[in-house]
């Protein structure tokens, strides 16, 4: 059972709602993934198009817990204002805190992130920060009051998988009691399974499912991979060895002459 800010969840897969070919494709993917938490954003509403009003209806249909993000915010101040608007709009204290440093890498600005996290926690938010694998930033975020950390695997939308696997292992070892969610950079179900095998508590992804040829089928594939990876972690995987070791018993091997006797 996954517990985030005191709330229990059966599914360890969190899903983004962007980039699907159609609202129907999003609905089917959410259903196939069995996810219980979806991420959403806030954008400027046009008086003519009223796009957000229609999307709100779709969100309600999904029946999932909503995790609003502060995507696109470049400063702590922008992220803090956006979080406040999200809290009112979505009626939740949860926020996926993003402060973005660079448009090419969409890398978190760790300084702005820590600054915003401190303010938001003090204002009663339950902050899920989108961060890197950096240990000192993670320590500052936890000290600020973040009870969940969401390190990237690779840049958002890149689908490269766990490009800094060793650092992610270290992060897991450093924070055994903090729920860690891999957020961003996952491309295929094997990446998600790998993260779960390392002991990560959950995986958040969007593009890998939304832009797949068949989003619903890929959502199911990811759901199974996340479950398989978690089971493997709980089961305790073997350590890799440099040399071969026969799996079939050696004792009683036929046609062998025992020279020792």
């Amino acid at each position: 059972m996954l517990t985030l800010y005191g709330k229990p969840f059966t599914s360890r897969l969190l899903l983004g709602t962007a980039r699907y070919p159609s609202p129907e494709a999003l609905k089917q993917a959410v259903k196939a993934s069995a996810t219980e938490i979806v991420t959403v954003s806030l954008r400027r509403e046009s008086a003519r198009a009223r796009t957000g009003q229609g999307f709100w209806g779709l969100i309600e249909e999904l029946g999932c817990r909503v995790l609003p993000n502060t995507a696109g915010c470049r400063t702590a101040k922008e992220a803090i204002s956006t979080a406040a608007m999200a809290r009112e709009l979505f009626n939740t204290n949860w926020v996926k805190l993003e402060v973005i440093a660079n448009d090419d890498t969409l890398q978190p600005d760790l300084f702005g992130l820590v600054e915003a996290a401190n303010v938001l926690v003090a204002e009663g938010f339950e902050v899920l920060p989108y961060t890197t694998e950096d240990l000192s930033a993670a320590e500052r975020l936890v000290a600020a009051g973040c009870a969940v950390l969401m390190p990237w695997a690779a840049p958002i939308g890149s689908g490269q998988g766990l490009i800094n696997r060793d650092a992610l292992k270290t992060l897991r070892a450093y924070f055994p009691d903090i729920p860690l969610i891999i957020d961003a950079g996952i491309g295929t179900p094997s990446h998600a399974a790998e993260a779960m095998e390392l002991g990560y508590d959950a995986v958040l992804l969007n593009t890998a499912i939304a832009e797949a040829g068949d989003p619903a089928k890929m959502a199911e594939a990811f759901a199974r991979a996340v479950e398989a990876g978690r089971l493997a972690y709980e089961a305790g995987p073997i350590e890799p060895r440099d040399m071969a070791q026969p799996s079939t018993p050696v004792a009683g091997t036929p046609f062998k002459v025992d020279h020792a006797s």
């Binding site: 709602t17 509403e45 204002s81």
Partner: protein, 65 residues
């Protein structure tokens, strides 16, 4: 009076933020507002007076990752 509404110049004679929202057809809409970079709660829109060159953000739910 000229204001910046969602990043674009907008002429209005609305006196308050709630009046502006109503004129845009957002009276009953699911929106959140900010003035000059700071969040303004729905309950405070009535009391929030608008001034020349104010920067208004009106946001709504959207797809996100």
């Amino acid at each position: 009076m000229q204001i910046l509404l969602n990043g674009e110049l907008h002429a209005t004679d609305a006196k308050t933020l709630s009046e502006l929202c109503a004129r845009l057809g957002f009276a009953e809409a699911r929106i959140a507002t900010a003035v000059n970079g700071s969040f303004i709660a729905a309950s405070s829109r009535e009391a929030t007076k608008l001034a020349e060159a104010d920067e208004i953000e009106i946001l709504a739910p959207r797809q996100g990752g």
